[in-house]
């Protein structure tokens, strides 16, 4: 259980219409924020063991610029211990990935880049409220490759109002033409508080119906698996096991992680805590050497059990029944045998040896499976 570090960079040039991540558009506060982050790192000195992942997420981490990113990484290395092969990821928006920027990020020691392409269709990009065009996305990918990135991930979104299967498959095929090591394909979630969510509620935009969304999901999975990708989590695909996101997998099996920056979540042992979702408060509190923690919870055995089941059932790895019984004192095969058999018959799960795994159709029901 080697821990990972997540850093939340809460800045964006503008807000995309569907986004409910915590981010602000006041880029002027970046320097103050970077100083604060470095102070917050201090608060955790000596608390965690050696890390093997760093993930710069956001917001738009690529807004920091090469210098500040370098500063952050240096500070991390001064404060914490890392394994040599630490996976360092940055999320980048296509508009920011000039050849220079890409090179300096790579030189700063970042080996993995996840590019927020979302779509190769300009109409879809416009509806989503993204700042970039399809052409810019392509240029960004090329720049990353040229800069030396051997581990490129692309983020894509489907189920967008007006989108049909054919146009989505075109986006997928364009993505595949770059042979990315990693693909995240997210179904668009219309969060109620976002501009897109409001337009949906008012009836102005109509997302594809459930039957079509099922088809999107199944087609995505079939197409990418046929192209040699592993569908290793509901929305994540890797071009082979070695390209799965080491960092993100920590979220799904109760590995400890330290989250720094406003709204970042941390987990260790059976405790989860999170920082205030407010940049100003974060800067102010850290400035006073006060912990910016906004809340925390101690998970009971029952809660750990539920999380482990539902998170496990979102992944190809599934749930190891022996280990589950051992850790949580619950023999699923014994207690839920009849239901499991029904689900097996309905082709939602497979049970091989002592392993319970969701099938492709099962992944599509992964919010219901853990209710068994």
């Amino acid at each position: 259980m080697i821990p990972g570090i997540y850093i939340h960079i809460p800045f964006c040039l503008s807000k995309c219409g569907y986004c409910d991540f915590y981010s602000v558009t006041e880029a002027g506060k970046i320097p103050l924020f970077t100083t604060s982050l470095i102070r917050e790192m201090e608060m955790y000195r000596g608390v965690f063991d050696r890390f093997d992942t760093i993930y710069l997420g956001g917001g738009t981490p690529s807004l920091l610029g090469a210098d500040q990113t370098g500063q952050l990484l240096d500070a991390l290395h001064r404060t914490f211990l890392f394994f040599d092969d630490t996976e360092v990821t940055i999320e980048a928006n296509p508009g920011d990935l000039s050849p220079e920027m890409a090179s300096s990020l790579y030189t700063a020691g970042i080996g993995r880049i996840s590019i927020g392409v979302q779509s190769f269709d300009d109409g879809t990009l416009a509806l989503l409220g993204r700042r970039h065009s399809a052409t810019e996305a392509i240029t960004a990918i090329e720049n990353a490759r040229r800069a030396g990135f051997g581990n490129v991930g692309l983020d894509l979104i489907y189920g967008v109002p007006g989108q049909n299967i054919r146009s989505w498959l075109e986006t997928i095929h364009t993505a595949l033409s770059f042979a990315p090591e990693h693909l995240s394909c997210y179904q668009l979630t219309l969060e109620p508080s976002t501009p897109l969510g409001l337009r949906y509620r008012s009836g102005e935009i109509v997302p594809p119906d459930d039957a079509l969304l099922c088809e999107f999901f199944m087609k995505t999975s079939e197409t990418l698996e046929a192209a040699g990708y592993v569908h290793y989590e509901v929305s994540n695909f890797a071009r082979g096991d070695e390209w799965m996101s080491r960092h993100n997998r920590k979220y799904w099996d109760h590995t400890p992680y330290l989250g720094l920056g406003p709204a970042a979540h941390s987990f260790s042992g059976n405790r989860r805590w999170w920082n205030h979702r407010c940049l100003d408060r974060y800067i102010e509190e850290v400035g006073r050497k006060v912990s910016p923690i906004g809340g925390s919870e101690m998970l009971t055995g029952e809660q750990l059990r539920l999380e482990s089941l539902y998170l496990g059932l979102r992944t190809k790895r599934g749930v190891d029944l022996d280990e589950f019984a051992h850790r949580y004192g619950c023999d699923l095969l014994h207690e839920k045998g009849e239901l499991l058999r029904t689900m097996q018959r309905e082709d939602l799960i497979t049970i091989t040896g002592n392993h319970l795994r969701p099938t492709r159709a099962g992944l599509l029901l992964s919010d219901s499976l853990p209710l068994l």
Binding site: Y6, Y186, Q187, L188, T189, D210, A211, L213, C214, F217, V234, S235, N248, Y251, W252, Y257, G259, A263, A264, H265, S266, F267, R272, W274, E297, Q303, L306, E307, Y310, L311, R314, E338, L339, T342, M343, E346, L348, A361, L363, L364, L365, S366, D367, S368, L369, P370, L371
Partner: protein, 598 residues
């Protein structure tokens, strides 16, 4: 004794009995303003939440009349709902008079008439009180006409008040003193006391509520329960103040309580006569009509591990609700449980809610049923209230079901709709009267089973809320019956079975499937629901599976939120019973009895 007045407040449901009691309590000053709350006599949580009275409550109020004399008023607030009318009849047995409340906007309703008759049977002084005169829709004149034509009382003896605002309360209290006769009886005579209620108190055991007709009872006396034949030593007597107030003695004319070290409420019988062991009275006072359960259903714990807990809860619950009866039962689909008898569907709902709330249990009730009578080929007569015990159809010579006589009152313009409904409910031998212009009283005989099956809701909608209804059970009548069984994904769910009138069986089967289809939530796989009569499938419905339920993103910040959602869903699922791999919600078992036009 000349200064005592014993009376009940009776009325149709919601006409304001408990509210008027509040005003009289406040007027007498027995509760200080700080401790006062509305409908103060409705002290059970469930009464307060639903805003209805379930149990009669007695309270003693001091009153100084206009002529300067001091009186003791023993007031009993009664429930209005038809399920609890036996509570009213018991209360009346301890009174010399009643306040018959009539809502000034709604006018005379079915229970107004039913309660009036009860008061007349007990030969009580009746003071009609028109309440809610503050309402914009109040029509005092019209109600006075109804008092004359529909109740046959002199409208000029009626008083008007607003229990809500407190107007007219003084006049009512004065009328109680002037018009209701003081109790008769001799404090020196042999003790004769009627038990009209009994409540369980964890510290004192049974608290007997009683009315003394003759003689005097003091603490230390040895009393005898005449029917039960047991003797007890009196520990304490007193009056119903808020809270109880201990006194030296209770004498002829008094309403009060006796504590005599009696452990459980089942050891005393409501209606029994208490006398002195040393100097008994010659014969017991007239008893009450026994309250008989008319609706039956089985109760099962949702988690079978909770069976023992349920058993304990029922035993405790029963201590305070003598009209509730139960015995062991078991179901192939739902496991160990209890077969229970109730006074009606409201009573059933209340028992269910109190068990869940006061004992923190999650329970399932099987489909409610009435009690049928079968004569078998060998001449034996059996009563069956549980579909699981339905006799082999080849062995049945004759089948009968209970009938009621229903009395309904409603505006004439709804005649067509009501008659149509009654016909659908197999009503027969109807008679009509026009108690006052534009109003109809319909008396009709119907099978009880069809009345518990959504009749009341349907009557309300057929009369746009203006219809009221009262009933008495009359007798058993021959009827062709059938057993309707329900299969869920091929498994027979015995708790969903119903005994039905053969003529309606198919249609009931269809409706049951439809209702279940609405009640059982979609699941990850298809669910087939079938209705069967004598092994033949007569109806079916399919609940299609849902294919998609997935959150796209689940990273650090999403995990807690998502878990909380699942916890909530799991909590919801705890209220469902697993039958095979299908989760059936509690509501499905009662919903089967409701039709879709409600």
């Amino acid at each position: 004794m000349k200064s005592i007045r014993n009376f009940s407040i009776i009325a149709h449901i919601d006409h304001g009995k408990s509210t008027l009691a509040d005003r009289m309590i406040q007027h007498s000053g027995v509760v200080d303003a700080r401790n006062f709350k509305n409908q103060i006599l409705d002290n059970m949580d469930i009464e307060r939440e639903r805003g209805i009275t379930i149990k009669s409550q007695a309270i003693t109020l001091p009153y100084r009349s206009k002529d300067g004399k001091d009186y003791t008023l023993n007031l009993i607030d009664t429930p209005g709902h038809v399920d609890f009318s036996y509570e009213v009849s018991r209360s009346l047995a301890s009174c010399e008079g009643v306040l018959l409340l009539i809502d000034a906007a709604q006018g005379v309703q079915a229970q107004t008439v039913a309660n009036l008759y009860m008061a007349m049977e007990h030969d009580l002084e009746i003071i009609p009180v028109i309440n809610k005169i503050d309402l914009p829709a109040a029509n005092v004149e019209r109600v006075m006409e109804q008092i004359d034509s529909e109740l046959g009382l002199d409208p000029y003896t009626s008083l008007a008040c607003s229990a809500k605002e407190g107007t007219g309360v003084e006049e009512i209290m004065e009328a109680i003193v002037q018009r209701i006769p003081p109790p008769k009886g001799n404090p020196e005579a042999e003790l004769a006391t009627t038990i009209f209620d009994a409540q369980y108190d964890a510290f004192r055991g049974t608290i007997i509520h009683c009315r003394v007709f003759e003689g005097t009872v003091r603490s230390g006396d040895i009393i005898r329960l005449m029917h039960e034949g047991t003797t007890h030593k009196v520990e304490e007597v007193g009056h119903f103040l808020l809270p109880r107030q201990k006194d030296e003695s209770l004498s002829a004319g008094d309403v009060g309580y006796i504590i005599a070290g009696i452990k459980t409420v089942s050891d005393v019988q409501i209606g029994d006569t208490i006398t002195s062991d040393r100097r008994p009275c010659a014969k017991p006072l007239p008893g009450f009509k026994e309250s008989k359960p008319v609706v039956f259903a089985s109760i099962y714990p949702i988690a079978s591990d909770d069976y023992e807990e349920l058993a304990v809860a029922l035993e405790k619950y029963k201590l305070n609700d003598a009209s509730f009866v139960y015995q062991k039962d078991s179901s192939a689909a739902l496991g160990q449980g209890f077969r229970c008898g109730f006074l009606g569907l409201l009573h059933l709902e209340i028992v269910q809610e109190r068990l869940e709330r006061e004992y923190d249990l999650s329970i399932i009730l099987s489909v409610p049923s009435v009690r049928y009578r079968f004569t078998l080929n060998d001449g034996r007569e059996v009563y069956i209230d549980n579909p699981a015990h339905y006799p082999d159809s080849m062995s049945i010579m004759k089948s009968e079901e209970p009938y009621i006589r229903a009395a309904m009152m409603f505006p004439e313009r709804h005649m067509g709709a009501v008659m149509k409904l009654c016909k659908e409910k197999r009503g027969e031998n109807s008679s009509l009267s026009y108690p006052s212009p534009g109003r109809i009283e319909l008396v009709i005989e119907m099978p009880l089973a069809d009345v518990i099956y959504d009749f009341y809701d349907r009557l309300k909608s057929a009369t746009q809320g203006y219809g009221s209804f009262d009933y008495d059970i009359i007798d058993y009548r021959e009827s062709k019956l059938a057993l309707l069984e329900i299969l869920v994904n091929g498994d027979r769910v015995d708790a969903l079975s119903q005994i039905v009138f053969k003529g309606n069986a198919r249609e009931r089967g269809l409706r049951a499937c439809e209702r279940l289809k609405e009640e059982i939530p979609r699941q990850m796989f298809k669910i087939a629901i079938q209705g069967a009569i004598g092994g033949e499938i007569v109806s079916r419905a399919t609940i299609s599976a849902y294919r998609k339920d997935v959150t796209a993103k689940c990273y650090g910040g999403d995990i807690t939120r998502k878990r909380k959602l699942l916890e909530k869903q799991k909590q919801g699922k705890k209220r469902m019973k697993m039958v095979g791999s299908v989760a059936i919600p509690q509501s499905a078992f009662v919903a089967i009895l409701k039709s879709d036009n409600t």
